[in-house]
Structures are given as C-alpha cells and as structure tokens.
Point group: D2
C-alpha cells in the first residue's frame, strides 16, 4: 500500500549477491550456511543452498536472512551430502518472488546442474529471446537462467564443453559457483569484475565471494580465482583452465569503497586498510579546519578513522546508529513519516553542540539521506558542518550486478559539487578524486589508457558491451505475475 | 515424523483433478473460484488460477482448500481480467510442493500459455527424456509439463498447429483447459476418459469438469465436450474441431460409482439417479433378509437409498460421520492411535443393538476401513452384519489420473469374495457384478467386444498403451528435492 | 472489512460449548482431545485443555478446530499428567480473542483451579461489578470468570465449601467440569438445563457433555449427572452430593431438536430416534400430498427420514451439500456475492424437475437461508415446494449458553405462519406444534403447569431469573480492546 | 530442543525494560512506537502499547521487535486516541509468553488502569501470597501485577490515594508510566535506581526511560523525574508530588557503563562522554605499551576511543561485527557449533598480524565470550593481547530489573584478576577500579558512607531490602505452564 512504503534511508549502491561452495566436506550445507552468513552484507533479502549427497540434489530457498532460515535443524538436515553451494541476494525484484532466488537448478539430459551467480549478464534478454524461439521455457526472470538454457541447448558433446560453449555466449560480469553430480565449478568473467576466492578447509576446497567467508569457517585463503579462470573441483582434486579469451583485469573498485566487508582482503590487500588509506588521501586532498571527525555510521567509519589520523583531529561518535532498524521499518502515522532519518541515526547533541564537525561518508547516491543527516547535525547545534566523501561523485549506473538508481536520480549526475554543497547545506563539501581513489587502492593514479579497475559508476567507462541496454527490446514487459504459496 | 502419520481412513480411489475456465466475463477469477469450489471433491489439496487481462497473465497457486485461499479479496484482486482458468488437485506427491500445482504456465516464443489438466499422460516420462536431450529444462515433475515442452519444441508454424502437434504425441487420459493471450481451449482425449462439459453464463463460455460447477454460478449446461474434440473460444466465438483420430468412447465408469458429485450429470444422466439405480440393481443381485439398510456415510448414501427402496427395507442413519475430521487429523498418543476409525464414524448404538444390519458402501479398496466399520457395528450390538458394495471388486490400478494403491494392496487382488467376507467379519458380503454395473449405468450388460466405458480397475482392460509403465525407465528417481518458501 | 463478511448461511441457533474431563488415566490429554473432537459440533471456533501431572498444571488454548491444534505431538506432549479437562466453544465474541477461550485457570491461595463451562450465568455481570468493588481484577469478559472470583473471594474455610458458596450465588445454566490438584469436579445447575454425562474408561472416570464423546474413546456410559448434583472424583473414587436446592428438571428441548449429535443419548433416549419420531409426528400433524421428501442437509436428514416413513413417501437426496464450505468462505467479487446459498447447497435438478417436493428442516431462525433454498429448488424445476419444520416457530432468545439472534431478527417473532409461507414462497408451510414436540420427545403433550423441559425459545417461559438482562447495567461497554500475539 | 540452543555470545547484563508515554497528542500510539524503537536496546524481545481514546482502552502486545510489529498500519490504526503508553522488555522468562508482556491492564472498579514498569519489586512474591489469601487472582508471573492488585485491593477512597497506598507497600526499583481514563502518571522509586525523563513535544508531555527517545520524536528534554517523585499529567497540566519518603539518590551506575544509549544524557551528563572518560581513566589506571587500541564492537567502542586518546595510541577496527546475527542465530551442525564466536565477530587478520593489541570492552560477565575473542585475535596473529575492561569486576547479581546470571556464574566471583588473565589467556588484564568508575562518572571517588550510585553488582552494597530473596518462599514454583495462541 502506498502508505506502507518501507523505510529505507540507506542511500547506497546495493551489491546484489554473494556466492559460496564447499566440496567433499562433512556437514557441507552447514558450512555453506556459515559462509553465506558472513556474506550477508552482499545480499540480505533471500538465500538458497543446494546440496548433493551422491544420489540426489536437495534445494532450499528462502526469502529472509540466512540466520532466520538456514539455522533450523530441520532445514540443514534436509540438505544432505558433502557438497553444497549457496547464494545470498539483495533484491527479489521482478515480482516473481522465490523464482528468482538462487541457486537455480536444472535437470539436464546428463544430470542435475545448480548455479549461483554474482554479477549481471548484459546480453541475457537478447539471448533469452533467441532461446525461446528454439523452444526453451523460462521459469524465472533471472539473467542466470539464460546460462542454464544455453548449457541445455548447446550441441557440444560433454557437459564441460557445453558449459564453456554457454559461457562464451555471455557478456557482462559473473562470478559463478556451480554444482553437478561430479563437480564443483568456479568461474570469473574475463575481466574479473566481481570477486571470487579459493580456500582450503582441512583439505576440502571452498569457493567464496570474499575472504571473510573463509575466516568464519576457519578455512585457509589459497588465492583469488583469476579473471577468465575456470576451476573444476572433483574427487580427483582441482583443475584450472582459462577457456575464455584473456583480458586485462578490471576489478570493481567500488568493492573497495563500500561493498566488501572491511575484514576481507582482495587481490592481497585488506579492505579496511584501503578504506583508512582512502580517508587519509581524502584528508590530503580536501583538508578542513575543524574540532572533530564524525563518521556517518557504519559505512563511513574506516575512512573517518583514516581522515582523523591524516588530519590529526579527534575521531568521535557524534552520530549513533540504531541497529534495530531493518529494511522494513515503516514509520507509522502520516505526520510522523516526515521525521524520517532519526529512525536510524541520532546526533549526539551534547558532543556536537557548538563544534565544527567533519562528517565522513563513503559515497553519495541520491543525497537525500545525507541532507537529512546534515540537518540533524545542525539541529544538534554544530557550529560548522563539513562533509567529506570517500569516493568520487557517482554519476552513472552499474550494469554488472549492482542495484543503482536510474542515472537521473544520482545527485552527482544532476549537480556540480558547489550545487551539491548548497543542496546538502554544508559549509564545505569534498569528494575524493578518481586519481586519489586509484592511488589509495593501487598506489598510482588512474591509467586512462589501461585502467586497472572498473570505475564506470564514476567515469562511465564501461569495460564490456551493454547489448541488452543498447538493443531495441531492453524493456520487455513480463507477461506473468505469479504468487505461489 | 513417523508418529505423526496423518489419519486417513478414507479408503477410496482419489480423483486427481478438476478443471474450469471462463472466457470474456467480468470477475472471471471470482467465477473460477466458485467453479473450483464446486469441484473441490475432485481435488482438495491445492488449487490454482491463471487470469489474463489483455496484457498480462496473473497466476495464484496455493496449497489448501479453495475456500481458504481464493476467497480473500487481495488474491482475487490480483487475478485481473475477464478470462481465467483454474485447477484443483488431489495430491502434491513428488515432494515438490507448489511446483506441481496447476495451472502450469510457460512464456513461449509467441506469448503466454497456461494449462490445467485432469487425467494422466501415460507416456510422459518417455517423452520427457527425449525432450531433455533436445535441451528442454523441466521445472516440475508433472506429466503436464511434458505437454508444455512439446508445444514449445514443436516445429509447426502457428500456435494451434504446435498445440495439436503436441497432443498427437500424447497417450493416456486428458481433459485440458488452456489459456493463451487470445484463446481458451478445451480438449478431451480421443477416448473421453475424463469428463469435460461446456456451459454458457449469460453469453460467456464456460468449461468445467462437471455440471455441478455450472450450477454454482448459474450457468446453463450446453453439452459435453466430445471425446477427441478441441473447442477454441476466442472473441469471435467458439470453434470446434477433431484433430485427434476418433475412437469409440471409453468414459471412466468409476466417475459414476464414486468420483463425480451426485448432483452432476454426465452424458445426459444424473449421477445420483445412477447410484440409486446401482443400489437397486445390487438389491436384486445380492438380496438379504435384514432389519435396516445403513449407509457408510457419506459416499454410500445414494446406493443405500436405492438398496432400501429395492429391498423394501427401512433406510436408517446407523452410522454418524464426524465432519470435523480433515485429512490431517492425527490421533494423539501411541495407545490411542489404535482407536482408529471412530475419529470419523460412530455407530449409533441404540439404533443398531440387536438388529440385522445391511451396510452399503460404494467400493472397497484396501478393506481396512471397512473392517473397522464392521467391527464398530458389531461392538454396537448388531445381531447380523451384511455388507453390500455398489461396484465390482477393484482389482487393478488406474493409470488415468486416479490415485490408486499398488495392486498388491487392493483387497480384491489378494482375496476371493469368501475370503474377503471372512477378513471383514461380515455375515455376508456382496459386490455388484460388472454386468450389473454396466446395466445400472447404461441399461445393458458389458459388451466385451466393444466396452462402452473404461472399467480397467475392475477388469484390467486398459483402453490405451501404458508406455511409461511398460518401458524400462518408468521408475526414474527424481534428482532434486526442493523446498522453497 | 465490509466486503469480506464471512459467508454464513447456517441459519441455526448455535450451542456455545462442550466440556470433557478424565481422571487418573494415562495419556489424559490425548483422551480429552478425542472427547473434544467428538463434541466439536457444540463449538468449533476454539478449544482448550488443562492437564495436571501432580505438580504443575499445563494449559493449551487455541483458536481453531481441535483437529488442527491438538493433534500435534508437541502440543499433547506439553500437556503432561493423568488428569485433564477440556472445552470447545462456538464463539469468541467480545473481541477479546484467546482470553475468553476455556478452560479458565486461576492460581488460588490453596492451589490451581481450572474450569470448563457449558451454559450461561444469567447474573454474571451483576456479580462482576460487586466483585470489582471488592478488588477483583477480571482478565476476561467471560461469565465463567465470575465463578473463579466468587471462589477466590469466598470466606468459607476449605476449597469445596468455597466452591459451593460460589455456586450458590450463580443463576442460570451451567454444566461444569473443574480440575484442582486433588479433584475433578462435575456439576449441573439445579434445573439441569445443559447435559453432562458420567462415563467409565477402564476404571477411570470421564465427564462429558454427550455420550458420543464416551463412544469415541470406548468409555462405558454410567449415567447422566443429575440436575443440581456435584460429583467429586479423587484418588479415593467418586463422591456425589446435592449442595444446591433441588428443583424439577428443565432440560433444554432444543438439544433434541438440533444441538446434540444424533448418535448421542440423553436421559436414556437416542437423539436420532427422537428426531425421526419428530419427523413422523410432523407427518401426522402436517401431512402433504407430494412425490418425494427431501431433507435440507445435514441437519434435516433424521426428521426427513421420519417424515418419509410416516408419510410413506420416497426419501431422496434432492439437495447436495458441499462439505468444503467452512464458516469463513467468503464469496469473492461483488456481483458474485449475491449467488449466496449455492456455495453450500445445490439442488439436484434432474431429480427435482417437475416434482412435488416436501423440504424438511429442523428449525427456522432468520429464514433467509430457507428462502434461498426454496428458490433454488424452484429454479431446479420443482412443481410444488412444501416446507415442513421439525420444531415449533422459534420466537425468543436463549439466555442459557446458546447464541441466538436478537428477537427482532427471528422470523417467527415477526410473522404468522401464513406470512412466513408467503415470505418463503412455499406452496405450504408446516411447523411441529409444541405439544407435538413434547410428545415426540417424551410421549406426552406439554404439561403447562410443570413443563418437563426448557422450551423458552418457543414459549418464552424462562425457568430462571434473568438478572443481568433485567438490571439497568446489562449493556456494559467493555473498556479494553486487546490484541496480543 | 537441546540441539537448538539459541546462539548468544552477548556476554552482558541485560536491562529488562524501557517505558514511554505521551499525553494529549495526535497519533499518540505512533509517537509511542517511535519512542519504544529508540529504547529497543533496553528490551528487544517483546513490546506493548496501550492507547486511550476517551472511551476505550486499546492494547497491543507482541513478541518481537517494535519495528516488526508496531509499524504496521493495521496495528497503529487499532490503537486509537491521543494518549498512549508503551513498554519494551528484554525477557519473557517464566514460560508464560505474552502474559508477562507489558503494559499490564486491569479493569478496576473505577475504570481502566494500564501500567508499564522498568525495574523490579523486591517484595513482589511476598506481597502476592498475601493478596492471594485475600482472594486476588493473578494472571501473570510478573512482579508488576502485584502493584495492580495492591491498587485494586486498597481501601483508600480515590484512585490516586489507592495508587499511593500501593506504592508504599513496594520495595525495590521502579520507574513507572501509567495510564487511566483521566491521567498519565510517572513515578520513580525513592532511590531513583532506574531512569525516567520528562519531555515536551509541542506542548504535549512525554515520559521516557532515556533522552534518546525524546530525540527521535523531536521532543524537548524538560528534566529528569526525581527519585521518589510522582508526576500526574491531566488535561489541566502536570502536577508533581513526593508521596514516598525521600532518600538520597542511588542511580544505577551500570546505566553509564553499558545499559543507556551513548547519545542519551542522564542527570545532565552525556553517556558517550562518560564512557570516553571511563576509557581515559582506564588508560591512566592500567596503561600498556602497545601498537593499537581495538574495541570489542559495539559496546567497547566509546571506552576504546577514550583509551586511545588517553594512551595516545591509534584506534583501529581490528574486530568486525556481523550485524546480521540476531539473538536466535543457531549454529547449524554439531561439529560446527564449536566455531562459536565467529558468527558475530571476525578479527581483521591483516591489521592485527604481528601487532601488540589492547582490546577494550565495557564489562566481563561469564568471560566465555571474552575468552573466545582473545583466542580469535591470537589466531589472527597478534603478538601480544592486552585486555582492558571499562568497569570493575562484576561480582554480584542485580535485583533491580537486570537479568544477571547467578553469582556462581560470574567470572569475577570465581577468580582473582590474575586467574582471570590466565583464563582469558591475555598478556595483561586490567579493570577500572570502583573509585575510578565513580571518578569518571561523577568527578570524585566513591563515598563509602553515602554512595551516590547503586553499584551493588560490583560491591554487593544493595540499597534496599531484598524481602523475596531473604524470605523462605523465594523460590516458589509456578503451578501453571500456559500456551495460548
């Protein structure tokens, strides 16, 4: 209902997925549950696990948190076997509810095939239409299902060949963890846009989106799966190959800015340390004379610590976050809905009163939440409010598995920095430069000839084709609205 | 859990489905809800409706009674449009829950296609394996999905041609109601094993499994859809054709014995009157000297009325049925579980004490319930207990959409009538003869050369091939056990 | 919501409760579950059980059917001990949900006390106000709670004396089953308005509203508890006393007409036989020339059998009842709501067409359902429709535990018989006379000096004072509307 | 079930309640919802609201978070009126589920009376037994219900006199917010053990446990309600009185250490600033040579910031908390259960490796969680681990509304500091001294003659009688175990 819009003041790009798998390990599904729990920040709306016990596949897919659904003994007991893969997802858009929750599963001619996908196939709709003309029946609106049908329809002889044949038809970003009756497969797209790491749990291979999911189960980090690499785990061990044309890596730089958990490490570097370094770089690029550095909790904390260290200012909790706000908190009452942001954040008046405050946040998307936070800090009596953002202005949508508002909703696509400062009613506003960001992450400014990362949301420099977007049929209306249960 | 086996003393063959559709009528989904409610005796475990509003299809499928799920305003409001079809089903076997609930829906290359099916395709598994080798991905274990894929994979040019092409590959029993963006289609298999009738609701065409579903909405009965006939309803009206090779009709005679509702009429004859006639025939064939005729409620009532009229004995309610027993009533406590049948039936002691009682029931499947009822009537003090069954002994499984126990569980496949009488501890036991049954239904004994009905459950004379059963691969273990929600 | 009024075409007085108890028997709560299941016709909206294991009382109270709530192993396992009492209730009016579901329980100074009540205390509100001024805090709107507080506040010395002291302050109708840490107590009010029977289950005493609840567990019927009698069951056996001033019995005659189950016996007479006798009496009093006798199912069946026997006319199932209609069936869609009665009943057209039909029902309350049924039978083509009612016109409300509409809603309080016939559009209408009813039940016409039964709903001759109704404060508005859970 | 013990590594004392009320303000219940949301840290297991619209009281009580239950439009719409009070509670111990959820409500002789209570009555059981002998029937196991009955049973003439009469019979800690048909009442016990503040929302009076609940609705902080003070808000305004014998204040010092939200202010001092000061004091008392200060998130953060400032060491997020762990997270699988603490916390390996780390936490209760965290930090490669606790050792149970383990479970009651250091496997362990704590909070060491705070959990110096504990009957077993729903 119109008056029950869920409260969501979390003005961030949302990563859409996390993936995890373990092969040949007792209590595999329970291990996957823990891995998914550690990856919950990558997708908190739904989760699924597929396990295989040598004879049958068992699948459980539920809307809600991992901890609310997969810690029940009955659920875990149903997920028999010593091989399992899992998936968490951010959104269940498309009105199709559980049908889009992963892992997806298909009974192919040569057996069961389950797939968990982080990323987005940028030619999925185009491929789907071709497949439908060949007689494929789609049961979800997920781009991932396109891959299932490409495998099923492939004329290649054995399963692996059909799988590679299908991958070669895909464009976009994908880190995949798949399970068949014989194999667990991990793949990263040729540009390595989304992360995928390999771990070792007492001899059992583990695949995960981030290292924090290895830590939770005490698995040893082995290495990142490489861009374009396919690793196949069987009873005989792990086999690596590069079936896709190799290209220079373009890892998503926003994983460092916001998506990844601070305790994860990517490409050998710790995310927290990079964020702190981003804060220090920001203090160098956009210094300010003030009394204290206050993070917008929780995502602004690491950069704020770095900023405080770089600027030699005290780091203080001037804003308190109420952790009891879930995504579904709805402010009751019409008049009351306008109180807005305080459901989640409260300024600590006594701390802030009369002070010159530097607010540090990781990014600005629409800007509405930032505007309310600034107002709240002003209402609490701050003498000056300076905002520092630990990334460049976000100007463009992501097509690689991140939920971004339409470009026209992005504050930075509508305003210059000075206008934004005015809109946010801050005494000063500073963003990190794109070179500063690359420097903090990689030690060197952006190489515009050969950029080392995908930073398209800041630069509009998309590293792949965007076939669906550029095709005539991009906006195909779904013809079915389903409600099962 | 082992100790929570649902109580089920309903020892009957179970019909598996009812279908219904209406075209070009306001509040179509609400009309379908009423039709399904009237067909609930054909399937009470799950129900589904697909509606189409000219642009989109809307589907709702729920486990549970029609009255519990489809009478909510929110549900009906979501089912927009003036065309809708629906389905009730008896069982959701296969562990796959909602995925097998119908109508099924597929997005084909030329648009949406929904299907509701009563019957069973006897070569579905065989066809499924061939389709999988062509790249089809099945998302349910339903034989009906095979039809969807046959349509999708057909090389014929237009939709109707593809649909007929697919039908021609099917064996078995099917009464189908389908919906596309342009058409509502009704089809009966060439033998007309399952019923399907055509009605008219103030000018809008209606398709339904039985006439009682026309009565509930005040629709006029037009005629039975004929065996092998396909009727296509569009905005231009109704078109009839016979795309399938015509064969002599073999309507299921058990529909008269038990499945159909007594107030329905099939092939121009009223089911209640036939059942009463069956009772009279039974009184002629197996007379008995007694004080009263007592039906096993509720299914034995019409035949008992006929028997009492034929035998000129008083008809009395000597057994009372507790209508609060659902299929899920579980007798609590270990010791108590053995009290068994009284959860549902109680003998009226004061009525029965010292009397010679004729118990009349419609059929015997396993015989365990009958045994308990006889014991209950004896415990209530009956001097003699005579059992009369309003059909021949059921000796064989049905492969045409009826849930029957394995042949080895059928009492009549294990014992002769004398042994059965002994097993049931009755003073006498009489079944209607197969000729008597045909006589009551049709006025003449069975024509063994050209039987007018499918009576395979009594005679083992199956009117179609049983490809899956006879093939080597019939018992294919499903490789996926899913739990979504 | 206004447009989701639950469908209820069941135009009957509703009995409000059934009670049951068992003492010193293993699996006591499971036994009570079965007893309540057999009494479900006396109240189907909520049920509760209190068990005692020698140390603690365990209580479970749930809205919904016994079979849906009390057959779960976990529920029964929580109800430990070898003594238990239970209650089913018809309505949970008062908006207070579970708080009015019985048994009620109170921790008194000398221990726990649970009570299950069938009937209605006619001075409960008056007594409640007095108790509140003494400091009693009521936690429900139930008249039964008044009894709890009267016991708690009594100045008598021991528990039994306090209990009797409380009973003496009550007016109205009550059959009670109570449980303390030492005793199970059964009491009937001095007029014995509501039934209560004593049974024996392999040496364990059982109390139940009706004998059908003894039958389900195989208990032997011992005798009716007598009007004004209190039976106390302890480890030492059963003790009977008559602490309340004895009065001539006034058992509710409507129990014979409709409330009690046909297989129960009351005061040594079988209910089904009485109803059949009522039908025969009705055939004598109001004969009609017709082709068939058709019961309004299910409640009209026994009287219709008697009528058919008395009138020597064929008994036929001309109306079929759909048992899948629960009380919550809501006809979907605005236009559709007017189709009304067919959700539950359908006339069997082929049977009825061109025939002169006698419809037999047990009673008429508002008359709206009867009107629709007559119309349905006419629409099915009946040539003549004669209605015969197996009781006198119901003209007055019941204050003894039966849910009756306000007098102004009763058809018989607004119209003479001729008007009613016109309203119902029948060719003739006949009610049983009050003398006929007494004759069928008791062998003699009503003794107007000393009536043997409470027949106030027909005669307005109430056998007790109606203190709350006659007091100024009867209609006290509740000050609390609660919603817990 | 034994193997589904909820995961709870939150080794803290748990505050049991928060209270809130607003008088004469539109959308009162929605305002209370927001207030309770801000107080959720004081009790997250259940919440309730009572509203009054001038005629009726409306009550909603639900288990679960405020945001999950009270933000639904239907719930808020049922809570009509411009006066409302609410309550959040930590535990629902006693197996009695919703019956203990507050506000409690009683229909007294002179009208409705609702009460929300933070604290604990230390003579409740003793008073309850006396009341039961007078005829009171208790419907919950809550100490708060004792107050209801004391008011109901009081012989004083008007309501306020009866309420004060009842208060005078209470011992222990209580901050109460009550609602009658005329008044909202706030009371603090004579020692002022629990907090209660008065606010002003555009002219409407507000009562709340903490100032953060005023901030969320934009209410102005007026003042703390004083120890022993009763404020009565009516349409005529606010009236203050001191009906209870005045005593020197003994506010709970643990509110500063852990319970209160850092952005609240109590007695004019900001909680975050006090915690940071505690950290600085701790750095003075227990300095350590190390590379970084790492808080145990989230509760150790303010003291860690203070410690880092005091010790001039870098403050770093060396431990990351997973906010998706609710209280019900159950580690799946037997083997896996031993992985324990990582479900909630993960050490940031790359940060910590080879470093000397000072861990700062607010308190230690059982010590098991601290032990696991230390091990986790060691496993991450820390060279040295020093633990600093921002309070003295907790040696004694609280009887004033805080859920504390039995004394024998408290680490500090079983071990000296050196033993604890050994048990925790830290290189050094330091607690703040009791004088240091008083100094940080109040600027001066503890005045042992006239302590300014209740610090009994550290000192065993209880400021009130503990009648129930000291009486013979303290441990009275409940005689009823109920399950309604």
């Amino acid at each position: 209902m119109a008056d029950e819009t869920p409260f969501d003041d979390d003005d961030h790009f949302k990563d859409e997925c996390g993936v995890f798998g373990v092969f040949a390990r007792a209590e595999a599904a329970a291990i996957v549950t823990l891995g998914l729990h550690a990856l919950q920040h990558r997708g908190q709306e739904a989760a699924g696990i597929v396990a295989f016990d040598g004879e049958q596949f068992f699948i459980e897919r539920h809307i809600g948190l991992v901890g609310d659904n997969f810690t029940k003994k009955a659920v875990i007991d149903r997920l028999k076997g010593n091989r399992a893969i899992g998936h968490v997802r951010y959104s269940t858009t498309g009105g199709s509810g559980l049908r889009n929750v992963q892992p997806l599963f298909a009974e192919l001619a040569d057996g069961g095939f389950a797939i968990a996908h982080n990323g987005n196939i940028t030619n999925a709709m185009t491929a789907q239409r071709a497949l439908q003309h060949q007689g494929a029946i789609f049961s979800s609106t997920s781009d991932t299902e396109t891959l299932l049908h490409l495998v099923a329809m492939s004329k290649e002889k054995d399963f692996t060949a059909r799988f590679v044949d299908a991958l070669r038809k895909l464009e976009g970003a994908y880190s995949l963890v798949c399970l068949t009756s014989k194999k667990m497969i991990g793949v990263r797209d040729p540009l390595g846009i989304r992360p995928l790491v390999l771990g070792d749990l007492d001899g059992a291979y583990v695949l995960a989106s981030e290292t924090c999911a290895l830590d939770i189960i005490g698995a040893r980090f082995v290495r990142d799966v490489k861009p374009g690499e396919m690793v196949i785990v069987t009873d005989a061990g792990l086999e690596s190959s590069f079936p896709l044309e190799p290209q220079p890596s373009r890892f998503c730089i926003f994983e460092y800015v916001y998506f990844a958990r601070p305790d994860s490490s990517v490409e050998g570097r710790n995310v927290y340390e990079i964020r702190r370094e981003i804060g220090r770089e920001l203090a160098r690029e956009a210094p300010v004379d003030a009394d204290m550095v206050v993070p917008v909790p929780d995502s602004g904390v690491p950069a704020a610590i770095g900023f405080a260290q770089g600027a030699n200012l005290p780091f203080e909790l001037g804003i308190i976050r109420n952790h009891y706000v879930g995504r579904t908190f709805i402010a009751p009452g019409d008049a009351i809905r306008h109180m807005g942001v305080k459901l989640k954040h409260n300024a600590n008046k006594r701390m802030i009163e009369g002070k010159r405050v530097v607010l540090v946040d990781d990014s600005i998307v629409r800007g509405t939440t930032s505007q309310k936070i600034v107002q709240m800090v002003r209402d609490a009596g701050a003498r000056e409010v300076h905002m520092r953002i630990a990334s460049p202005p976000t100007r463009a949508s992501c097509f690689y598995g991140v939920d971004t508002p339409h470009t026209s909703k992005l504050l930075a696509s509508r305003m210059e920095v000075a206008e934004m400062a005015n809109f946010l009613r801050v005494d000063s506003l500073g963003f990190l430069s794109i070179d500063g960001l690359h420097r903090a992450v990689d030690g060197a400014p952006r190489d515009n000839e050969k950029p080392r990362y995908c930073d398209a949301c800041f630069t509009k420099d998309y590293p792949t084709r965007l076939t669906d977007r550029d095709g005539a049929d991009t906006v195909r209306k779904l013809s079915i609205v389903a409600n099962n249960g």
